[in-house]
């Protein structure tokens, strides 16, 4: 399936999506507004939603504290922690030395000793320096210690593709963390996701990885009245259907959803194809039921993500297609669209070819529906 994806890649013209890097697609945005228009006029950027989530949880529970590089004085490299130092002081908003293994380990130790640390990685690319602390200690200690010591730590920060920052700053670690027993892994897309999932992560007694996306930070999304409440939580392990449809199911998460929505809009208006889009929200545990129920209706399954193809989230979605009752409902093989199997290049034109876009998604959906040769 990866082979056919590549064919599509090279046939696809390098499109105008490049010019919109870092900005939400206008079409997508208009569509989202329509989707939530019935609620009210509350708007919030993903960054603000994360900030509010942190603020509310710091305020609610004295055990919660935040640490990482530049999180205090500098308000965070991406300003997600803005204003929190002034409000909660240096005991609870802690600037650390540049030592991921050190402060990630410190977070694990503090969690084992009764605090609830929120450990910010400037980007998840840098979490590789602390990977042993997260996987070999954080994820496993509760099990290894016979269930006597919980490790309620949250690791959060931007993940996935960004713009113009190349191989070492632009990659998706969903599959890495999603494969580890003991971890919960969340991937918020819009502002409601950001707030509800981060708050749920902080209150969860297990170690949770919250994979944000840098390019989403500045995007404004509507917030429902319910989501504005300090009691708003989203359930971990539940996906959300962000667009209902009957012809094909797209499973995706995070930034890639923008391109799925763009493709869905195009397919609807140009071809009359109705696409259902599932926002996974939670990578681990994965909401298999929502996917199964959707495919029972649409009989076509396409997974879209920005991670590498091998052993990735898309592979997992394909496996679900084989191992669950989905298999009996499929009218075409499961398709997966992923990032290219190369380290992310810097040059704009090369970078654009490395990640899914709306045109590619539309093309693959049509192929799945036998509407394109």
């Amino acid at each position: 399936m990866t082979g056919s994806l590549f064919k599509s890649f090279f046939r696809a013209p390098a499109l105008s999506i490049l010019k919109q890097r870092g900005l939400p697609n206008v079409g997508v945005f208009a569509m989202q507004r329509r989707l939530f228009a019935s609620e009210n006029d509350n708007q919030m950027t993903v960054r603000e939603a994360l900030n509010v989530a942190l603020d509310e949880e710091l305020n609610r529970d004295d055990r919660v504290f935040l640490l990482g590089e530049e999180v205090a004085q500098y308000n965070g490299a991406y300003k997600v922690t803005k204003g929190l130092l002034d409000k909660y002081g240096p005991k609870r908003i802690v600037d650390t030395p540049i030592t991921e293994s050190g402060f990630a380990g410190l977070a694990v130790g503090a969690a084992l000793s009764g605090l609830v640390p929120i450990c910010e990685f400037m980007t998840f690319n840098f979490s590789m320096q602390a990977i042993d602390q997260i996987i070999n200690s954080g994820a496993k200690v509760h099990y290894m210690a016979g269930g006597i010591v919980p490790c309620p730590v949250v690791f959060r920060g931007p993940n996935g593709f960004a713009a113009g920052v190349a191989a070492q700053h632009s990659q998706d670690f969903s599959a890495w963390y999603g494969s580890i027993p003991g971890l919960k892994v969340l991937s918020p897309w819009d502002s409601e996701d950001a707030k509800g999932l981060l708050k749920a992560a902080i209150r969860d007694p297990n170690p949770v990885i919250v994979l944000e996306n840098e390019l989403q930070y500045g995007v404004k999304y509507p917030m429902s009245q319910e989501a504005m409440s300090p009691d708003f939580l989203l359930p971990i392990g539940k996906a959300k259907i962000i667009r209902e449809g009957k012809d094909a199911t797209i499973v995706s998460h995070s930034r890639s959803l923008n391109y799925c929505l763009e493709a869905a809009e195009k397919l609807q208006s140009d071809e009359g194809i109705s696409v259902e889009i599932i926002n996974l929200r939670s990578i681990k545990p994965l909401d298999v039921n929502t996917i199964v129920e959707s495919v029972k209706k649409t009989n076509h399954l396409i997974s879209v993500e920005s991670g590498y193809p091998h052993f990735g989230l898309g592979s997992e979605i394909c496996a679900i297609g084989m191992e669950t009752e989905i298999f009996d409902y499929l009218d075409a093989p499961v398709e997966r669209i992923t990032g290219a199997d190369v380290p992310t290049p810097y040059a704009e034109n090369l970078e654009a070819l490395s990640f899914p876009n709306g045109d590619l998604i539309a093309k693959v959906v049509k192929r799945s529906l036998y509407r394109q040769k």
């Binding site: 030592t99 050190g102 016979g146 392990g237």
Partner: protein
């Protein structure tokens, strides 16, 4: 001149006895300053205590760090002011724990050799670290590496607890999930052992930060070896502990070997202690085979840590008489003669026994009868543990999370179905509850 003035101002605040010394120092400094106007303070944000000089010199080493000692090799106290004022009961408990550890090690090592347990690590030659356990408060939290069973023993981990863990039986606190010797006890404030060396160090800093925030008058004790000090985690842990002022004692058991790698190949420079100074951490090196040196230094370190929220590095110099583990034969890389030398001439147990005997707190008779009785107790616990059932099969799936998510429930259900369908392939007689609780 600025320096001189400041010193003079300080003098007026200081007690009179100290004044003359300080004045002399101030005078010497004036002379120096007059000679060389460059000899002034260099105030950079990255080095606040430096001064300018015209002498171009690379610094390779500072004076060797001394090794603090209370007793000589014969258990004689060198400086009476350093002898700790402790009761007979207190001292004898430490000694008895050293002997118990020694005997337990011997029996479990042999058990591994006979194939009855899969793995073991002995503490031979390093038993004096129990002195550090004796200097702590029972609420101080331990982050061990793996060769610190004696600390648990001192805190009251029973012989049954040890044996149950090594046998992974139904009474193992860890529910049969960890290799032998990876002990842990919430009750005794001993964090479960983590195999990858040095990962416990940053965690200890974090636990110390949590302790400090809680306002408790306690500290974290973190043990590790000199080999672990080559890991990045050691450096990051010391750095964050120093910058975040965490009440943690980093206790380095410098026993000469990291598995087969001798210290000569592990590092250059003056041991591990010199690094503490680099991180701005209060540092001391002690004779690690001298129980009282270890005890005194730990007690003082604890004071600094608890009262002033300062991390401390304590380098305890010893010699690993043991093989690294049961997976190692150390005579492939060191001579028996060398090991014999340490066993005979610098044995922490012998040294401490001599001290006790000089006090008339211990005798040949007590030695023999204690050894006989404790050996019997260890063997009893050993055979009891061997006969117990294995942990319940549900423990395979429990505790991955606080509540099992669907993927865990599905796995458990699948196993249950398989067991019901093919019971002959899943003999569960030796499991607690025989699989009925799955």
């Amino acid at each position: 001149m600025f320096t001189l003035l400041r010193n003079a101002a300080l003098c007026s605040l200081w007690p009179k006895i100290a004044m003359s010394t300080i004045n002399r120092r101030a005078l010497t400094m004036t002379t120096k300053l007059l000679k060389n106007t460059l000899d002034e303070k260099a105030s950079y944000p990255g080095a606040t205590e430096s001064y300018f000089t015209t002498e171009m010199k690379f610094i390779q080493s500072i004076a060797p760090i001394p090794t603090y000692r209370v007793m000589d090799l014969h258990g004689k106290v060198i400086d009476p002011t350093q002898e700790p004022q402790v009761s007979k009961e207190f001292a004898v408990k430490i000694y008895k724990d050293m002997i118990t550890l020694n005997i337990m090690d011997f029996i479990l090592y042999e058990a591994q050799r006979q194939g009855r347990i899969s793995f073991y690590m002995t503490n031979y030659g390093e038993e004096a670290y129990i002195g550090s356990a004796a200097a702590l408060d029972s609420q101080d939290v331990i982050y061990g590496q793996y060769r610190e069973s004696g600390v648990l023993l001192y805190r009251g981990f029973t012989l049954d607890n040890f044996m149950n863990q090594c046998y992974s039986n139904e009474n193992d606190i860890g529910k049969g999930r960890q290799m032998p010797i990876h002990y842990g006890s919430k009750e005794l404030n001993f964090q479960t052992i983590s195999s990858p060396v040095a990962t416990q160090l940053p965690q200890a800093s974090g636990a110390a930060y949590a302790l400090k925030r809680s306002g408790k008058k306690n500290c974290i004790m973190c043990y590790f070896g000199e080999g672990a000090a080559s890991e990045g985690d050691f450096h990051s842990a010391l750095n964050v502990a120093a910058t975040m002022k965490c009440p943690v004692i980093f206790f380095c058991r410098n026993n000469g070997f990291a598995i087969s790698t001798p210290t000569l190949e592990q590092y250059k420079g003056d041991g591990i202690a010199s690094r503490g100074i680099g991180y701005g951490i209060d540092t001391i090196r002690v004779d690690g085979n001298d129980v009282w040196a270890v005890y005194n230094a730990t007690k003082a370190a604890r004071q600094l840590s608890v009262e002033e929220h300062r991390p401390v590095l304590l380098e305890s110099m010893t010699y690993r008489v043991s093989h690294h583990s049961t997976s190692d034969d150390s005579f492939a890389y060191r001579s028996k003669k060398e090991v014999e030398y340490w066993k005979q001439l610098d044995n922490p147990i012998v040294r401490f026994r001599k001290w006790l005997e000089d006090k008339n707190w211990w005798s040949e008779h007590e030695e023999n009868s204690f050894r006989t009785s404790i050996r019997k107790e260890v063997l009893n616990a050993f055979s009891k543990a061997e006969k117990l059932l294995k942990p319940s099969i549900t423990d395979l799936f429990n505790d991955v999370y606080d509540h099992p998510p669907q993927n865990i429930i599905d796995q458990r259900q699948k196993l249950k179905t398989l067991i019901e369908r093919y019971p002959e392939n899943y003999p569960l007689k030796n499991f607690k509850n025989e699989g009925k609780d799955l």
